[in-house]
């Protein structure tokens, strides 16, 4: 078998604790909000790097988003990835999961020679978990979602993974090439390597591709390529809670609480 080529897909998301909703316009305030690589995508990247250490080969990172995301791709290079690609074009903006998975799949096709494509199970912002199966469908490969643990079986061209299910689990085997989505917390992502950091910043192989570079049908990307539309937004009605603070010693608080909860006891 030729050396393993793993592609890790990462998304850059605003840090959840920094998200503020503008109470007048009901839009997300993005100004000054710090971003990060989506946490489960870090688990996917870590899995890719660990597999490379074990089996040899190379790791390529791919992301879609504005030019500012190169910063995060350099971080991935500093962690150990060999190459990075950013798919960046205004025409990609406003994509739903169909258009996003199509765009990423076209980028991955252009990168080429892939064996294993690893994604995080879901993003902390969109949280749809639909992009990994979508990429697998566009590329016509097997898929393994919610992988907690994944092994490449040497020589056989197969991967074996443990998938988490509701309460239980499943162990499945799939032929390469294959798309897998990795459970959040499946591993401990490594820190970046300080020596690689200098290399990543100075000469890390980072390529930015626009829509014309990756051979996409302009009708199938971005907002125009997205069958779903946002038909309106509203402020989530905070359910009316009593917010009664109970005072006193723990014993007094406990007694006061029990009196209020009689109906449930």
């Amino acid at each position: 078998m030729r050396p393993l080529h793993i592609i890790a897909c990462v998304k850059v998301v605003p840090k959840p604790e920094e998200i503020r909703v503008d109470s007048e316009t009901w839009t997300i305030q993005r100004d000054g909000v710090r971003s990060e690589i989506n946490p489960p995508d870090m688990n996917a990247l870590e899995m890719a790097l660990a597999l490379k250490e074990q089996h040899g080969g190379r790791v390529t990172v791919v992301a879609m988003g504005p030019p500012t995301f190169v910063l995060y791709l350099r971080l991935a290079l500093a962690m150990g990835a060999d190459e990075a690609y950013l798919l960046s074009d205004r025409a990609f903006a406003g994509a739903d999961t169909l258009a996003t998975s199509y765009t990423l799949a076209q980028g991955i096709r252009k990168i080429g020679d892939y064996d294993l494509i690893l994604c995080g199970e879901e993003s902390s912002d969109g949280a749809t978990a639909q992009v990994p199966p979508g990429i697998a469908e566009w590329l016509n490969t097997a898929q393994i979602t919610y992988a907690e643990d994944l092994e490449v079986l040497p020589g056989s061209g197969m991967v074996k993974a443990r998938r988490e299910l509701t309460g239980g689990y499943e162990v499945i085997q799939a032929p390469l090439p294959c798309v897998a989505s990795v459970k959040a917390g499946a591993n401990e992502p490594r820190f970046m390597d300080m020596e690689r950091k200098a290399w990543a910043e100075a000469e890390g192989p980072l390529t930015v591709w626009t829509a014309t570079d990756i051979d996409v049908d302009p009708e199938m990307i971005g907002l125009p390529g997205s069958p779903t539309i946002v038909d309106g937004v509203a402020q989530a009605e905070a359910s009316e809670r009593k917010r009664e603070f109970l005072a006193g010693t723990p014993e007094e608080q406990a007694q006061a609480l029990v009196e209020r909860l009689r109906a449930y006891l």
């Binding site: 749809t128 697998a136 779903t228 309106g232 989530a236 029990v258």
Partner: protein, 340 residues
């Protein structure tokens, strides 16, 4: 725009995927049938349940009792175990033959695995993890409500042109309808074309959950990082109240509790009558899983913790100081009731 494999003019009916596992229907499937029944009421839209598996037609009646007009059953030995390849192929054929207008699936791990693959194969739109569904008055289009970024806003998503209009909904968002054993419905067996070569993956081992289902609990006692791994008092209070123990993500990551007890965005959406939340800060990814509770009690040392904005009764104190007298007070109150 990317065109779907069939258009709106040809499409009719609401289909609900009846996900079964080892011959048992998942609760979320019945929740969806109940909700779809509500959507179709007063409109003449057929409600069809779709069952895939091996010798599963016995489950059809359960879906009919929950509100389905018809159940299509795709029985095949290669569908005994869920695989993305097998289920996507069989389901796609069913969909292209029946051309549903709307297709609803439960957002379980395998439901999401299937929905994501199907939507791309059919070149259609999918609204994931809806918190509510309705049909638009004039157009009859499906409108899915999703909680936007940050949990503070709701977004309404439609799929005007492509068909089917697909949506997934998490377990617990809708209630299971009361079964009506007298309801009549059609059960239709549909042909399945599947060969071994169609399925790329092989399931080597399958282990079901241990059966804790926190989405059905009437009382939940929940613990987070603040419990420091010590769940003894939480367990005691939960069993005293005939409830279940739930947790935030931290105890799961730390290995203090199993994942089937996790409340929230990645965990479960619960709808207990009473939730007692101890040592949990109230991040929105947690809160989305508890906000449907009738009454919420929060116990936290930090008076500024966001959980207090979401609670009915707030106790600013150490959970380890409050739980022992609370357990005693509950015992006394129960004793006064003659116990249960």
């Amino acid at each position: 725009m990317t065109k779907s494999l069939y258009g709106a003019q040809e499409a009719s009916a609401i289909w609900v995927y009846l996900e079964q596992n080892q011959g048992r229907l998942t609760g979320v499937s019945l929740e969806l049938v109940g909700k779809a029944r509500e959507l179709t009421d007063g409109r003449s839209i057929p409600l069809v349940g779709v069952l895939l598996g091996d010798q599963v037609s016995g489950l059809a009646q359960e879906a009919i009792a929950a509100g389905a007009d018809e159940v299509r059953v795709a029985d095949h030995p290669l569908l005994r175990q869920y695989t993305t390849d097998g289920y996507t192929k069989a389901f796609t054929e069913l969909i292209l033959a029946g051309k549903p207008d709307i297709l609803l699936l439960g957002a379980t791990p395998n439901g999401r695995d299937l929905a994501g693959r199907l939507a791309v194969r059919l070149r259609t739109g999918l609204t994931a993890d809806c918190t509510d569904l309705r049909l638009e008055e004039d157009t009859g289009l499906l409108v899915g409500e999703v909680t936007g970024f940050g949990g503070g806003i709701l977004a309404y998503i439609k799929c005007p042109d492509n068909r089917p209009q697909m949506a997934t909904v998490r377990p617990g968002v809708f209630a299971v309808p009361a079964p009506d054993g007298a309801r009549q419905g059609k059960v239709v067996s549909v042909p399945v074309n599947l060969a071994k070569e169609d399925i790329k993956v092989q399931v080597l081992e399958h282990v079901d959950g241990q059966g804790v289902d926190i989405t059905r609990a009437q009382v939940l006692v929940a613990a987070g990082r603040g419990c420091q791994g010590d769940l003894a008092l939480i367990n005691e209070l939960a069993s005293l109240l005939d409830g279940e123990v739930g947790v935030s993500r931290v105890p799961v990551d730390e290995g203090w509790a199993s994942r089937d007890r996790m409340i929230g965005q990645t965990g479960y959406v619960t709808r207990p009558k009473l939730a007692i939340v101890c040592g949990i800060s109230g991040a929105f990814q947690f809160s989305v899983g508890i906000e449907k509770a009738e009454t919420i009690v929060a116990i936290n040392t930090d008076a500024e913790a966001p959980i207090f904005e979401q609670a009915d009764y707030c106790i600013v104190d150490d959970m380890f100081d409050v739980l022992p007298p609370l357990i005693e007070a509950v015992k006394r109150a129960r004793g006064g009731n003659g116990g249960r």
